[in-house]
């Protein structure tokens, strides 16, 4: 059967701040610039989840996008939307919430719920001009 990638878009809004606790304020500002602001700033994150696999001959689906929408809602949107990533999301208490790291966290959260014969790719827009892609390697 032909192998197709199906994509589903979602989004969430969150606050974050980039810094390393063990660095001085000067070093943090030098590396992370405005993103180091102590009082946080925020983004409308746009997320694309992509699943690659063979088309099921009976349904014509690679994966039911309605089901994927519900998994994203429960596992990602409810965990991250309108949250302060540094203060309220377990994974980022010891991990800098850069777009790169958020994409890896989202990948790992979804990997547990998506059948293993399907490859996953995560695209995460932090702003309309800055975005990242991660596919689990």
């Amino acid at each position: 059967m032909p192998k197709v990638t199906v994509h589903r878009k979602a989004h969430f809004n969150a606050a974050h701040r980039l810094y390393r606790e063990e660095w001085s304020d000067d070093k943090n500002f030098e590396v992370f610039g405005k993103c180091n602001n102590h009082n946080f700033h925020g983004h409308n994150y746009e997320l694309i989840v992509s699943l690659t696999g063979e088309i099921d001959q009976e349904t014509g689906y690679v994966y039911d996008l309605g089901k994927l929408k519900r998994i994203i809602k429960i596992e990602i949107e409810e965990a991250l939307d309108h949250k302060n990533l540094n203060l309220e999301v377990e994974e980022f208490k010891t991990l800098n919430p850069t777009a790169e790291n958020i994409a890896v966290v989202i990948f790992n959260k979804l990997r547990k719920h998506i059948p293993l014969h399907l490859e996953i790719e995560i695209t995460l827009y932090e702003t309309p001009r800055n975005f990242v892609t991660y596919s689990g390697n």
Copy 2:
């Protein structure tokens, strides 16, 4: 010569319905949900056709996008635009018109008209949030 991918966007509007004739109404609704509506619903499909190959040294083109535009117009838009996919398009009389299957059908239609040294990839948006990609494997 460098290998480049050239992309061309197009679109068409169509009605469709997802179902399997041999299934009960209940099973069809369970699997396809609102997309199973007997009276059809519809979409503005956005299509991206991508061709990969070496740049021609004389023209600087991988493939003339004006020519690709005309092939898409004749082979895809005239065949699918403002059509009911289930009732009026031969390929979908026995094949469920999911985005996955439509992408495969479009790939096969274009494959006959594009020189074989060029790889083809099809991206098809069913809605701004649901889309699929197929490259012929």
Copy 3:
């Protein structure tokens, strides 16, 4: 208090067909072209609902957009999404479902649920290139 317009986007997918029953097939085709197809075609309709009024001094809101989102969901999306407008939506059994008429129907449906001190404007995209605006006059 300053007067501000607040806007909320939503969308729905539907099938429709443009025609007048009392006209001949030829006249219908002449006037409505491909949109007259007997077997229906469809669109992803994008909807913007705009409410204009004074900012409430206590909340800083003109109108709670979460509440507007729920009204649009119940009154518009559940009534029109994945429907065949001609066959399944009462208002279009005797009214041609042009973008203009759909915008007027949506306006009238929402007018009953939005406080009268707020002006309403409806913007409805039938395709990314064709859209209409209606504000109740």
Copy 4:
């Protein structure tokens, strides 16, 4: 001379929280929902500044958009970008940073720098689906 409106887009990222100090936590949550989160959340704000006036016969401009870009950069982006609106922006220490109020604040900040024969309109996207418009009345 013909009257034309010229528009310039800009953007900034910020954190905020909606609440009234004198209300209970319950009432704040009831009115502002997830936007009331104590630890802030954030947005990529997209801003459109629109100026209406007569075309200058010599230049063909209503207003130099390069100049408008610099005014927006200094007065709006440097004041709001990567900031926590509640904690770091004077105007929102006593004013709820709803999209409505942010639009009014931006209008007032720009009004001082734009010649009085030009009308100003502010469009502010808080998310791609929620936005507001204000023109000074």
Copy 5:
């Protein structure tokens, strides 16, 4: 009958240069900056034509958007697409091709072809961040 605005998008690519012949190079550069480049630069202009009028009771249309599409194609796209506005378009031989002036020229070209009971508004994007609106006053 309800008054509705119908909108149609189109686009064209063109080269232009902003300058006044009677000004020195220094003054031209001071006023028009990079847009004054002697060798021209260019844009993908996005155009929205908006017509306001009553819905026709028989068709449900304010104006047939297919017809508007053809008028825009002949009067605007064929006149401006892939052209050098300064050198090849009559109207701009003595008029600076700013976005403001191009919008006025497009308005005047269309006014002759659109019935007088319909109001016209022109929106012209010079870039995704700079655009203008003109409605004939």
Copy 6:
């Protein structure tokens, strides 16, 4: 460490013309159509630069997008923005400025400034409907 791709968008406006000096006018028009116009035409080019590599454990970055933004500004935007590609950009004095060739030139310019352990991919939109991708092979 996980391998992630980070993307940064930028843009520039330029004029160009497609032709081969040694060909007749007829042959040039036959191959390049309207793009062969002697007086040039132009585009708003949208550029996406994508870098693939491992996440740095200390910063959580693959590459500082602020730094990438500055490199793109100096190496690409200042070299190409508001320029006539054929007349003013060294690389295109003997190379046809097709989207394919512009992407290759941008890739080569950036390759010198980006550490070698990072892969580069260039996506270049000539118009919203025509675009190309190049990753250095």
